[in-house]
Symmetry: C2
Subunit: 185 residues, 2 copies
Amino acid sequence: MSLPHAILTALLEKPSSGLELTRRFDKSIGYFWSATHQQIYRELGRLEADGLIRALPTAQPARGQKKSYEVLPAGRAELAGWTAAARDPKPQRDVLLLRLRAAAVVGTAGLEADLRRHLELHRRQLAEYQEIEKRDFPPDRDTPQDRLRHLVLRAGIDLETFWTGWLTGALAEFAELPEEERAGD
Amino acid sequence: MSLPHAILTALLEKPSSGLELTRRFDKSIGYFWSATHQQIYRELGRLEADGLIRALPTAQPARGQKKSYEVLPAGRAELAGWTAAARDPKPQRDVLLLRLRAAAVVGTAGLEADLRRHLELHRRQLAEYQEIEKRDFPPDRDTPQDRLRHLVLRAGIDLETFWTGWLTGALAEFAELPEEERAGD
DNA sequence: ACCGGTTGTGCAACTAGTTGCACAACCAGG
DNA sequence: CCTGGTTGTGCAACTAGTTGCACAACCGGT
C-alpha cells in the first residue's frame, strides 16, 4: 500500500497530471519508488474515488486532455497517518545474491559478465545521484525540508557506493577462482 | 521467477522436505530470499509437475508424512541457465525512504520512533550475520564454494552496516529539526 | 486535407507474493 | 484412551506490481 502514498507525496509537493507524475516518478521519486504510467493512472482514479484527491477545476476533463490533481485535506491526513505508523522492514529479496549462491552450486559460467554489467549500471546511477546532490543541495540552502530530502538522497548514494564496491570485490574474487569452477560442474 | 530457483539451489545443497526447506529459508537462504511455507509447498508441487525435481523414493507420500525432494538433471540445467542469464536490477523500492520523503511534506511526527526501532532491528541483524561469519567462515577453510557464499554474506553484513549508519545519521538530523517541523504542519 | 509521430490517458490480463485457514499424524501428560 | 500441543502439508482468496495493448488529441510537414 505504498504507491498511493508516493503519489500523495508527489501531489503535495506539486499538483500534477498523470503524465507529469509519471515523469517525476522516472526522476526523483522513482529513485526509491518506481511506478509505470499505468499504475499511476489507476491509482489516481482510486484516490479520487476515495475522496483523497480531486481534479483541478481549471482543466476540462476530455479524453487526451491534461487533467491535474491536487490533494484534499483527507488525503494529507491519510498520508500523515501512514508516515507515522510503525511498519516492519520488508524481508530482504535480492536476485543477484541468489544467483551468486546458485553459482556456488552450478558454477559461475555466464554470471561474471552480468556482474560487470551491473557494476557499470550502479556506477552510472551513483554518478547521477552525485550530480543531483551537487545541483540540488548546495551547502548553504538548509531548510528542514532540504535536510530530509538530502538524507534520502544520501541513502541512494551510499547504497550505490556499496554496490559498486561489493561488485568490484566479487569480480576480483571471480578472477581468482580455478578454471573448472568457473565453467560449472 | 526467483523462488523456484531459490528452492532448486537449496535442494541441490541438500535434498529436503517442505518443512526442512521452510526452516532453511528462515535461516541462511531467507537472508536474501524469504518465503513462507505455503509458497514453498506450492512451488514444490509445480517443480515436480514440471519434472525439475522428484520426491525421494524412500519416503512414503502419505498426508502428514515427510516427503523429501531431490533435483533432477533438468532442474540443474534450468538453474544453471537462470543463473547465467543477464537480468536488469529490479527497480529500487524502499518504504522507509518514501516515508521520509513524505515526512518532509507532512511532518516527522511519529516517524522518529519507528526509525529507532528499525535501527535496533538492523543492529540485531548485523550482529547475527557477524556471528555466522565467525562461525561458518574461519580464515582457513577456503574452497571456491566457501568464497562465493562468503561473498553473499559480506553483502548482507555491509548492507546492514550501511543501514545502521544511515539510520543513526538520520536520527541525529531529526534531533536538530525545529520543534514545529517535527510535529507536522 | 492527410499522414505519422508524439502526448496523454486508460483498460485488461497476468504474475508473484501474502494471508488466512484447514487438516492429518504424531507424541506427551492426565 | 483421549486430549491438546506440535509437526508437516496444503488449498483458496487476496494484494500489489507488470505487461500488453488501445485510443483520442494535437502538431508538424507535404
